[in-house]
């Protein structure tokens, strides 16, 4: 494993950023400050972080409605993210996209997506670009357990395998699609088993274990980068918040919630890293306060930013429309 101390610090900071960003957003939503729907990624931090640790800015990811964590892990500017969630002119999408559409193509983030399963085909596209132009760029497609049941994901996995594209499919199996449990909506025993359906490697890992994810992703992304084709990784975990904010999560039992808390990906990372002497308590405390400051700064940035002007409704539809 290629996990240097520096990488570990970075990974910790990323996970913490995601967690604090989501907690801030939850709070702001409860205060009535944020419009629309927000789907929070808290609890799943190890996945985006462990996977994106192997990607550079030139690599691509496609994302989901639950996209904040992917954005942060892929390096999208946090100020611009918070402003976008507000709908401010300084947002990543000038306030036109909102939480469900945050994107930054220059950072290789091809957009959160409001359509479940839509990222699969898009990922084939950036993969095809890399293959056609002969670059070594890799695309990672994040999708949920619910999305695994969407026809687009089947088509995308098959196409990526037929065309031998540099794409890695990462299924974030958090056990639910809205209030519908995974065991009900998915007939497979493991989503990773579906690798067989496309003759690609399929692995199930603990979605709360950063180290396991990091290692599994390293292999899959390496494979893709070497032109050996796609892989499928299923990460089993949970989400701490409801499907979207406002969901009281009546469908999750108290035991289940307790069990999840005990598997907290950030706490576990901290524990393992400090117990093994890889990181010190001080280093972590220092990062914690740095990250808290970054999130607070993003909040202030968003708050004081201006709203887009009304004429913006009509712009950016086309590059050129006579």
């Amino acid at each position: 494993m290629s996990l240097t101390k520096e990488k570990m610090l970075e990974a910790y900071a990323t996970m913490k950023k995601i967690r604090l960003f989501e907690e801030k957003v939850a709070g702001l939503f409860a205060e009535g400050k944020l419009p629309g729907f927000v789907h929070l990624y808290a609890g799943e931090e190890a996945i985006a972080t462990g996977v994106c640790a192997h990607l550079s800015e030139r690599d691509y990811i496609t994302s989901t409605h639950r996209g904040h964590g992917h954005c942060i892990a892929k390096g999208v500017d946090i100020n611009s993210m918070m402003a976008e969630v507000y709908g401010k002119a300084t947002g990543a999408c000038k306030g036109k996209g909102g939480s469900m559409h945050i994107a930054d193509v220059d950072k290789g983030m091809l957009g959160a997506n409001g359509i479940v399963g839509a990222g699969g085909p898009l990922a084939c596209g950036s993969g095809l670009m890399a293959k056609t132009l002969g670059t070594d760029q890799v695309t990672v497609c994040f999708f949920g357990d619910g999305a695994a049941e969407q026809g687009t994901m089947h088509e995308a996995m098959n196409l990526a395998c037929c065309w031998i594209l540099p794409v890695v499919f990462v299924c974030e199996n958090n056990g639910y699609a809205e209030s519908t449990p995974w065991g009900y909506h998915c007939a497979a025993k493991n989503i990773a088993d579906r690798g067989v359906a496309y003759d690609m490697p399929g692995v199930t890992v603990d979605g709360t274990d950063f180290f396991a994810i990091y290692e599994t992703a390293e292999e899959a992304i390496g494979r893709a980068r070497r032109g050996e084709g796609p892989s499928l990784i299923e990460c089993r975990g949970f989400r701490y918040y409801g499907h979207f904010e406002g969901d009281a999560m009546l469908y999750v039992t108290e035991e289940e919630k307790k069990r999840n808390r005990a598997r907290d990906p950030i706490e576990n990372f901290k524990k393992r890293a400090t117990e093994r002497g890889l990181l010190s308590e001080e280093q972590i405390a220092e990062l914690d306060s740095k990250v808290a400051a970054i999130i607070e700064e993003a909040f202030k940035f968003a708050e004081k930013s201006a709203w887009p002007e009304n004429k913006e409704v009509l712009t950016d539809v086309y590059v050129n429309y006579p």
Binding site: G95, K96, G97, G117
Partner: protein, 340 residues
């Protein structure tokens, strides 16, 4: 029939409940419609964790059980297609397409299968199904959860399209849609769920294809539908204060559309404004104008006007979204421009 005040949401719920009681072949399915009822710890108790994203289906799973109220995977093609297959073999399914913006992942089953099956089979089959779906902007739900899109479905031969504006209409039209023997797309504007109105307790139907004059007037005709009925009535109120009497025609059904009521009104008022939340090109608004510009041309005293959303996706930022939606002010000023 005893009537009482309930919300639009409750009216929809009640139509489904009463039709399901009346006819055991009526079933309901879609994502989370049983609302977590499929969870192990819910089993036996037949309770539900949520009645769908906006709570429209509360209580249906407990009353009718998990055999008639079924959760689905996120597989819109499969379950809308299942509605077509079930309808053509003896059930009367109601399939819920959560947001109409998701039509892109299941459109084939609606327009190539459901809509055309009867015709392709030479009339030897029928497809009595309803697809219920949420429409409309104003919820800060951005570009992929805020469309109207009923113009597209109205374009398609073989489909019926219904867009209620009041709790009373919602219940009567949904009951009619469920009993109808053709595939019906039933559009629910998410910003109407909370409005209240008088609704009889019993079952009743409102025939598909009948518009309603929601306000009479003589100076101009506004043809409209859905949430825009309320905006138009508000505009009409303001115009009345200025002595302009506007007639407001609520289409209710877009296909079949009640051309007679539109034409009669325009023949009386000689002026037409169409107010429509859908995008403008090849749309309901242009459809109504084309009808009038052909069949009531000689009665028209002024250009036909349409007030619609612009030719853009729906923006997220609240101010932008409000600017996207047709406004009461724009209705008032358009009417004034040719009556003043």
């Amino acid at each position: 029939m005893a009537a009482r005040t309930i919300t639009f949401r409750e009216a929809i719920n009640e139509a489904m409940r009463l039709e399901m009681r009346r006819d055991p072949t009526v079933i309901l399915f879609g994502e989370d419609v049983a609302g977590g009822a499929t969870l192990p710890h819910m089993e036996g108790e037949n309770k539900e964790a949520w009645g769908g994203v906006l709570g429209v289906r509360t209580g249906l799973a407990p009353e009718f059980g998990r055999n008639r109220v079924l959760d689905t995977p996120i597989s819109e093609s499969a379950f809308i297609g299942a509605a077509v297959g079930a309808a053509s073999t003896g059930l009367r399914p109601i399939a819920e397409l959560m947001f109409i913006d998701f039509l892109g992942v299941c459109f084939d089953q609606i327009f190539n299968q459901g809509a055309k099956l009867r015709y392709m089979f030479g009339g030897k089959a029928q497809v009595p199904m309803v697809v219920r779906s949420m429409i409309g902007a104003g919820f800060r739900a951005a570009a992929q959860h805020s469309g109207c899109l009923y113009s597209i479905f109205t374009h398609i031969p073989g489909l019926k399209t219904v867009v209620p504006s009041t709790p009373y209409d919602a219940k009567g039209l949904l009951s009619a849609a469920i009993r109808d023997n053709d595939p019906v797309m039933f559009f629910e504007h998410k910003l109407l769920y909370d409005i209240e109105g008088e609704v009889p307790e019993d079952n009743y139907t409102i025939p598909l294809g009948e518009a309603e004059v929601k306000r009479e007037g003589s100076d101009a005709t506004i043809v409209t539908v859905g949430r825009m009925v309320h905006f138009s009535l508000e505009a009409a109120e303001k115009l009345a204060n200025d002595g302009v009497n506007v007639e407001v025609v609520d289409l209710r059904s877009l296909s079949p559309m009640d051309g007679d009521t539109i034409l009669d009104s325009v023949k009386k008022t000689h002026r037409l404004v169409v107010v429509d939340e859908d995008n403008p090109r090849c749309s309901l608004a242009t459809d109504v104008i084309a009808l009038v510009a052909d069949q009531a041309f000689d009665y028209l005293d002024a250009p036909c006007k349409m007030i619609t959303a612009p030719h853009t996706p729906v923006p997220f930022s609240p101010g932008l979204e409000d600017a996207y939606i047709p406004s009461v002010e724009s209705i008032v000023s358009t009417v004034k421009s040719f009556t003043g």
